[in-house]
């Protein structure tokens, strides 16, 4: 758990100096990722560096697990906090294993124990220990270096991590992969993470809490959902952009937005039944379910003509969406395939519900109310 209390940093002479961080207070619960977000020069990095005392605060306090960090020797303090920097900063004269084991070695761990730990960590990010332990940083690709940089911060198993734009120096595709990888590890590791970023999408994806900074002040401290649906100030609204509703889509899973149980018809039902159901629900289409519970076709209200069975009226299902993905991917599928109603399926392809434009709008509105 990390708590900041009225943390202030003034550079230059007192009175005439520049206040880089101005009375910032917030608390990050154990096991959460807090992203410090804001334009450059907003004080987010200075705030982070005061936590491991790379910068000494002018006033205010930082507590880690209730302990005031100014009462801990700075060198001991830093060894107890994982640290990842934007430029990666792997030591070119050390092998990958030695880079990962810098802090364990400083702490005087048994060499065998630390090297075993390094191998385990490499395994976790899909780098073969046998191949990579003895390599030098310049023999790695940018993405591999970035991974080793994160592993180095995890090596001593510190409960707290500071990450200064850790995935900034990497191409967008690899960045997504490494972000996902980190989130996956975080699920089991449950580190308390302070993560500096200037990228809103990254923040929304990674954060449990987002702290938005502006000119040294904390403008808003909230969960991504809350922030996107209830920006506290006009500045934040501008910073989030006009497409913030779209960003919100990312945070909602299909399972939470789909209509369930979905109205379905059987192939042998008359189309009249489909028409009745659609009139009642107001949906522009209805799914025809096969006997095995999989979606077998879709009947559009606008295309129903006369009589017959649903089998004859149904069109093939062009796309289905898994219930586990986020709404952004679902909307993309609906647009791509021009499907106003899309069937949502579980891992076995069984129909679980349907997603309509209206159900999406409603779930966004709900998150606004809940937040």
């Amino acid at each position: 758990m990390i708590r900041l209390e009225n943390l202030t940093k003034t550079f230059g002479a007192a009175g005439s100096g520049i206040t880089a961080v101005d009375r910032v207070s917030f608390e990050v619960p154990e096991g959460e990722i807090c992203v410090l977000l804001g334009p450059s020069g907003c004080g987010k990095t200075t705030t982070m560096k005061m936590i491991n005392r790379l910068i000494e605060p002018t006033s205010g306090k930082v507590f880690i697990d209730g302990k005031d960090v100014t009462h801990i020797d700075p060198i001991q303090l830093r060894r107890s906090i994982g640290y990842v920097i934007q430029q990666i900063g792997l030591f070119p004269n050390k092998t990958v294993a030695d880079n990962i084991c810098v802090v364990p070695d400083l702490l005087g761990w048994d060499r065998k124990k630390s090297r075993t730990r390094a191998a385990e960590l490499l395994e976790m990010v899909g780098l073969q220990p046998d191949t990579f332990m003895k390599r030098y940083p310049k023999e790695l690709s940018g993405g591999q270096q970035q991974r080793v940089g994160v592993l180095r911060a995890l090596a001593a198993d510190a409960p707290v991590m500071l990450m200064d734009e850790p995935f900034g120096a990497i191409d967008p595709i690899n960045r997504e992969v490494i972000q996902d990888e980190f989130l996956r590890m975080q699920k089991t590791l449950r580190k308390t993470v302070i993560f500096v970023s200037h990228d809103l999408d990254e923040a929304v994806k990674m954060a449990d809490k987002i702290a938005i900074f502006r000119a040294g002040r904390l403008e808003q401290f909230a969960s991504p959902e809350h922030l996107l649906s209830n920006p506290a100030t006009p500045f934040i609204e501008t910073f989030l952009g006009t497409d913030r509703s779209l960003k919100l889509l990312r945070l909602v899973q299909v399972a939470d937005a789909m209509l369930t149980p979905a109205d379905t018809v059987r192939p042998e039902d008359p189309v009249a039944k489909a028409r009745d159901l659609m009139e009642k629900s107001g949906h522009p289409a209805i799914i025809m379910s096969n006997g095995d519970g999989r979606p077998g076709g879709i009947i559009l209200a606008s295309r129903i003509t006369g009589q017959g069975s649903c089998r004859e009226a149904a069109e093939p299902v062009r796309a289905t969406v898994p219930v586990k993905v986020d709404l952004r991917s679902a909307v993309a599928l609906m647009f791509t395939h021009d499907m106003p109603v899309i069937p949502c399926v579980d891992e076995d392809g069984k129909l679980q519900g349907v997603l309509t434009y209206r159900s999406i709008v409603r779930s966004l509105a709900n998150s606004k109310i809940a937040a």
């Binding site: 491991n52 790379l54 060198i75 001991q76 303090l77 830093r78 060894r79 107890s80 640290y83 920097i85 430029q87 990666i88 900063g89 792997l90 030591f91 070119p92 004269n93 050390k94 092998t95 810098v102 802090v103 400083l106 030098y136 940083p137 310049k138 023999e139 180095r152 500071l162």
Partner: protein, 220 residues
């Protein structure tokens, strides 16, 4: 032909003179490394100190060697070392300071600030950073400075023959005073060969001391 004959006849003398030469340069440069590298490390802490020290060392190197030897005669005579081995060693120590201090300073100052920040942020003490990161990374450039000092001072030491320090310069000074081109050329060529040989040897040492991860041509 005559010169070759002379050189051949005096091989053992050339050998012993070369050893004298090496004794002066190696002792002096070793002492200069012991003073120059710590000074170079120390002045990275203060830009003003660095400017002052580098300026002073540059001034030293502009003093003509013959004048420096001349200066040392009255200075060292009271303690009985006005001429010979001791003033030669002192002169070489002084001349070695600039390349060694400057290269050490530049190499340490040029270490990527990100690496320094990573080191501090992970809890290395200043000495640990120096030993684990900065000196290994600076090693190739520091070694280059030592090579420069050695090669330059093999030349300077040749002149030390005039103050009776011995070495290969003896052939040159005698060749001039006796108008004997055989001795003159033998001395000059021997000094050049010695300089090249020692430089190649030090290049090899430099390669050994360069951390593997920095070496060019590591298979990716």
């Amino acid at each position: 032909m005559e010169t070759l004959q002379f050189a051949y006849d005096n091989l053992s003398l050339i050998g012993s003179r070369a050893l004298e030469h090496i004794a002066i340069v190696s002792v002096a440069v070793s002492i200069a490394v012991l003073t120059g590298v710590p000074i170079g490390l120390a002045i990275t802490q203060s830009k003003r100190a660095a400017d002052f020290v580098l300026y002073l060392a540059s001034m030293l190197i502009t003093i003509p060697s013959i004048a420096l030897f001349g200066l040392m005669i009255p200075l060292l005579s009271p303690i009985g070392y006005g001429i010979g081995y001791v003033p030669a060693v002192i002169a070489v120590i002084l001349y070695s300071q600039l390349p060694i201090i400057r290269n050490t300073y530049t190499a340490i100052a040029d270490v990527d600030p990100a690496l320094r920040e990573a080191g501090i942020g992970m809890g290395m003490s200043p000495l640990q950073r120096l030993r684990q990161v900065e000196i290994p990374l600076a090693m190739p450039v520091i070694m280059a400075g030592i090579r420069t000092a050695v090669v330059m001072n093999i030349g300077v030491t040749a002149i030390a023959a005039y103050i009776g320090a011995g070495g290969l310069g003896t052939f040159i000074s005698r060749g001039i005073s006796q108008t004997d081109p055989r001795q003159l050329i033998t001395g000059a060529v021997a000094v050049s060969i010695l300089a090249i040989a020692v430089d190649l040897f030090l290049a090899f040492v430099q390669k050994l001391l360069t951390p593997k991860g920095l070496a060019t041509g590591v298979a990716a």
